[in-house]
Symmetry: C2
Subunit: 233 residues, 2 copies
Amino acid sequence: MIKEFTSNKGLTFAEFKKHFPYSEDVLYALLFSRNQALIGIRREKFAVRNLKKIFRATFKLVPKIGFQAMSLRDLLSETGLSMGGVYLTITNKENIAIIVKDAVTLVCDDIVRSAREEADPGKALECLIKGYLYASLLLQPWFYFLYFETRSLPQTHQNDSKNLERAQATELEQLIRELQKQPNNSYPPEFIATMALSMIQERYLKPWKYKQPAQSVDDYADNCLQLIHHSFR
Amino acid sequence: MIKEFTSNKGLTFAEFKKHFPYSEDVLYALLFSRNQALIGIRREKFAVRNLKKIFRATFKLVPKIGFQAMSLRDLLSETGLSMGGVYLTITNKENIAIIVKDAVTLVCDDIVRSAREEADPGKALECLIKGYLYASLLLQPWFYFLYFETRSLPQTHQNDSKNLERAQATELEQLIRELQKQPNNSYPPEFIATMALSMIQERYLKPWKYKQPAQSVDDYADNCLQLIHHSFR
DNA sequence: TAATAAAAAACGAACGCTCGCTCTTTTTTA
DNA sequence: TAAAAAAGAGCGAGCGTTCGTTTTTTATTA
């Protein structure tokens, strides 16, 4: 596993990005080794090259027409690969969705792990929120896909996907509860956690609204955090 | 057009529901008359009966598997109708999605109209937020469908759907701007508007998280409004 | 280092099947 | 009894997938 990357404080998006360990090639290499059972190609070099083509094409087509409506022939003409090449790589269509879920899981787990290493709950909260916000922006197509195409997954994986979101919410909720001085006078912790989470999702679910003063995401993160601390009274 | 229904203040969900004019049958009758061009049946009585079956079935199947994956044969066995009956009613599959968009548009326009009739911006904001929150809960399957299946619509209708959301955001933003006393010291109005909107959507997009202390939606609404007023300093 | 053998990857036509939809016939309605 | 609605078998297109073959890459040998 890769060393943590969000332990700084007052983190900006630019800094985060600089230390973000999941560059495209690294990510595909990780996905290749984590999903041997779903991938037909045995040599990493070829697997990475094909996976890159397949996922780039998927992320171009799916936001326009949806995963179910994307045919493998659409995928062929977008990737330039042949039917055989695609099937050797992913073995069947739904594995595309399963691998996306695995990627998002991988990154989310990493963020939670980083946040847990912060002793101060205020720092931990910042780490968690910025980590999730920035990572989901750097890997926007992945997070977007998983949100909108969870229904295209087989049932077990649908549950995984739902639990992934639940875990993030719980993690936030616990930190917020710790930070509220007089719990009786404040908002319910789960309400604030929900607010934080849905503000993060807002960014990656509606990319057309945020193209892209780039720096604006730092303001966005600050506003979110300020609003949360504001809510503590 | 039906008279407005959200002019009260301190509105609870229960009260709202009592005066909500879009009961199932009324809604289908309205949709029938608004979408003559998409509907083959000429007698309202039969149209309403079939539309009800078709949309109920759609809303049962789609959250599990998605609209593209729902076949007409799935729809037949869920509705008990025949192929002829279904096609006489909706003429083609994508009209299901188009009619959902029309329904949501109809209701949203009504909410905005009601809010605009409030002279006081504070009241107007409450009217808008509660109107949208409560209506989208009463018609949860419709709002949910439109959000997740916008990509299944033909392009023109996709744009309509996007503009519908934009219009809600703009409406909120203007009211919030009015209410901020010292704009320079507060959060950007579009940030708070975005927050409000995504909190409302949270409720109808993740129904599994909110099944259903029913009354809890009043608390939810109050918390949202409180948080917003809180943000004004 | 060049020649060769073995393994892996890529190709793409063809398959069985399911899709959305049509259309003739039958039933129901007013 | 004329018009409207419902039925459901059937159609062609296009789907995901398979598989026999070819091409490329890697490993071995001389």
